[in-house]
């Protein structure tokens, strides 16, 4: 067979057809992944700009750049965009779409047309949600607690409808991936040889399919409450506001697993690849993700310890919260141990993986703190919670997504990025992120409530540090955007396997992959991280170092040919 070369293959998924029509009607999972990448990046950009506005307003007490109503709407829109339009689709829809079928040795997902439909449903939902901006006021945060949410403006009609519609995209994507994993694995790719990224997307998909209908119904009820006053949640109409909270968190706690499980998958692949070692506790990491996907449904009440739910339910929720937290801690230990006696290569993706282990641990430990009933009474709805969930969502999901993006970038676009700039940006992101959110722990536990437009002078120093941090973070992220775009046009051509990785997207496809991924179906004969069983990868020195001049060619793509 032909060996790959650093030059892009003559025909690949981006150039096989060039018309606009070929893009908008494409059913190629890779192109859909790229379209998602553009869409979620735009959502992240918009949400990020709002975040900077919010932080700027908080740089000093009193009015700084906007009034309270504008402020309240800014943080709300920031949250809605980040949660529903960015973080939920981010890893599954971008990397899941691009990478998962290839890692399975498949030509595409099980239902390619449905996959395209999911993308359009997502777009429509996002547009509906954004219409709210024009129509009027939406404030009060992404949680939409009744009866406040139904008592102001009509904007909430559009936001809830938007979330409702985006939910279908999430459900259909999940369904598609579940079937794909079950039905489309290459010969020899047994369950115990699946890359952990596949396992994690599989677990995520289960949660998406089971949990998302609940937020759909909740949003629909809220919509009807606002539109025709059916009186489910508003006490003035005979409803119960605590019921809304139960509905909301019944989805939104499992949703935090939609946000974090894919990150676990990315990190597992990165730790294995860049340590050139088997991921410790492979079975544990794989199966506990699936277990969490189910058990995660039993802890929603830990968001409601002071809401007026019964003491007994609070106690039960607290206990289960802990029992679910433990496997997560064990995973972190496993990832660290993966480096033990390995060959640790500190390229940019690995830097993000290590960063993740630090920031996500802080998020996890503070989660334990919040799960303690008596302490949560004090910390609930303060900046401590804000810091906690940013450490898990940004410090967990986003950092992992950045790691994954840098890892798969050469595969997606056939070019390397500038390694030096990438490292500087990673450092800026790390410093900026911690500077932004760590002071929020301190002011939160000292009593600073969340969703506050104004604050008392004693909190000023922490708010200022946080605002400063957000600018550093912003610079880091814009830098990534900058060298990313530069790389698309000027980046060095990427070899097929610049990292010396073992999963199929690296060993059996070109950078960029063929429209049909593989020239013929691969046969898998070893585990995803069995480097010691892959001498052919390393005999003649390893593949590229990303930044180095030209990567020697190392991939012998037909070793496992039947």
């Amino acid at each position: 067979m032909h060996a790959s070369s650093a030059a892009a293959p003559a025909v690949h998924y981006l150039n096989n057809e060039k018309t606009i029509k070929s893009w908008i009607t494409t059913v190629d999972h890779k192109r859909i992944g790229v379209m998602y990448l553009v869409a979620v990046s735009l959502a992240f950009l918009a949400g990020g700009i709002l975040a900077l506005l919010v932080r700027t307003e908080l740089a000093a007490p009193g009015e700084t750049i906007m009034g309270p109503d504008a402020y309240n709407q800014s943080f709300t829109l920031h949250a809605v965009l980040m949660v529903f339009a960015f973080i939920i689709p981010a890893i599954p829809a971008v990397m899941g779409n691009f990478v998962l079928p290839i890692q399975l040795g498949a030509k595409d997902v099980a239902f390619p047309r449905l996959n395209l439909a999911s993308f359009y449903i997502y777009l429509i939902g996002a547009v509906i949600a954004l219409t709210a901006l024009v129509v009027g006021r939406v404030d009060g945060g992404w949680t939409f607690y009744a009866p406040y949410s139904t008592s102001v403006g009509n904007g909430v009609l559009f936001i809830t409808m938007g979330v409702f519609v985006m939910g279908f995209s999430s459900i259909l994507t999940g369904l598609n991936f579940i079937v794909t994993v079950h039905k489309m694995r290459a010969p020899g790719l047994t369950w115990s040889r699946l890359p952990l990224f596949v396992w994690s997307i599989y677990a995520t998909s289960i949660v998406q399919v089971l949990a998302t209908p609940v937020i759909g119904i909740t949003m629909l009820l809220l919509f009807l409450e606002k539109l025709v006053g059916i009186g489910i949640f508003d006490p003035a109409l005979g409803g119960d506001p605590v019921l809304f909270q139960h509905f909301f968190w019944f989805y939104s706690h499992p949703a935090v697993y939609i946000m974090i499980l894919p990150a676990f998958g990315v990190i597992s692949d990165l730790m294995g690849t860049f340590s050139r070692n088997r991921v410790q506790g492979y079975k544990f990491v794989a199966l506990s993700s699936v277990a969490i996907a189910f058990l995660g449904f039993l802890v929603w009440g830990h968001h409601m310890f002071v809401s007026g739910q019964s003491a007994v339910s609070s106690i039960v929720f607290s206990l289960i919260t802990y029992l679910i937290g433990i496997p997560t801690g064990v995973k972190v230990i496993n990832w660290v141990l993966t480096m033990y006696r390995g060959s640790v290569w500190l390229q940019t993706p690995m830097l993000y993986a290590l960063m993740f282990l630090i920031t996500f641990s802080i998020g996890g430990f503070t989660g334990i703190m919040l799960g303690v009933l008596a302490i949560d009474v004090h910390l609930h709805d303060t900046y401590f919670v804000v810091a906690h969930f940013h450490y898990v969502m940004m410090g967990g999901n986003v950092i992992a997504a950045l790691g994954g993006l840098h890892y798969w970038w050469p595969k997606m676009f056939g070019r390397m990025y500038n390694e030096t700039l990438a490292r500087i940006a990673a450092l800026l992101v790390f410093i900026g992120f911690n500077l932004t959110f760590f002071p929020q722990f301190i002011m939160g536990s000292r009593g600073m409530p969340r969703r506050y437009y104004d604050y008392l002078p004693e909190f000023e120093i922490f708010h200022q540090l946080s605002t400063l941090g957000s600018y550093v973070l912003g610079v880091g992220l814009f830098m990534i955007l900058g060298y990313g775009i530069h790389s698309l046009f000027r980046g060095k051509k990427a070899p097929a396997n610049p990292w010396g990785a073992l999963t199929l997207e690296w060993t059996h496809t070109d950078s960029m992959p063929d429209p049909h991924n593989f020239h013929h179906t691969p046969v898998v004969t070893r585990g995803p991280y069995d480097y010691h069983l892959a001498p052919e990868l390393f005999n003649d020195g390893v593949s590229g170092d990303g930044a180095g001049e030209s990567a020697p060619e190392i991939v012998h793509r037909d070793t496992s040919e039947a």
Binding site: I326, G342, V372, A374, H378, R446, D454
Partner: protein, 310 residues
Amino acid sequence: MGENGSFWLPEAASTIAPEVDALFYFVYWTSILFFVGVVGFLIYFAVKYRRKDHSFVPPAFHENKWIETASIVIPTILVLIVFTWGFKVFVKMYAAPPDAYEITVRGKQWYWEYEYDNGVVVPNEVHVPIGRPIKLNMSATDVLHSYFIPEFRVKHDVLPNRYTSLWFQVDEAGEYQVYCTEYCGTSHSAMLGKLIAEPEAEFQRWLSDQNADRPPEELGEILVASYNCAACHSVDGSRGVGPTFQGLFGSERQFEDGTTVVADENYLRESILMPAAKIVETYPPAMPPSYSSLSARELDGLIAYIKTLQ
């Protein structure tokens, strides 16, 4: 606020606060210990096993059952300790002592309204006596709010359709910040209040001063409701456990022992302060003696109100 607190937590001003803080710092130091462990190993491994030779392939590494087991068992034990401890303190926070002094709190966009059982209603600045448990019975009149005093480590949501409560006890006089911590609209961040804890005597003086500018009849009407006189005395002529107040003033009273008297101010005062002194004919001696501690102003108010009911 910061001055008496620790780095992480504000001053511990309520009786429950030190218990919460002990738990907080237990979780905190345990977490720090684990965190330092994780990051320490992370850095150590990343440096020690840093790739030097690009063609080096580490031999297959077999998992260590001991580490695997320990990393599950130890955290589980710790977590169960923390859970049990947190649960015990939580139960204490949850159940107010039965002898607590009760104050009604209403959350409104965007202020707190307090009502004492002598009818005093004050906005935003609440006074409480020190040295005894205080229970706040809370409800909202519009949307959700949440009542939070960081120095006391207490917080509870305030709902429009039901009563919720929280309790605390402060032993030292002081002024504390009250926040609303459930988003409630434009001025959510301005829904701030003060809680002033003071010795019982000062508190009582403050409380009675609050009624100073209220006309006595009006005060009396409020007191009849809040002291629950209305449970036994009607104001419309109907018979209850006790005689009606309607037409009472100036009428001739018949007593068990056969004597009579015309109901004037002195008689009313005596009936309230010492109900057992004269028992109205056909009625049981059921009126409690607990009203002997009413202040002069309150008595005047009650009498003035009864006089209006002709």
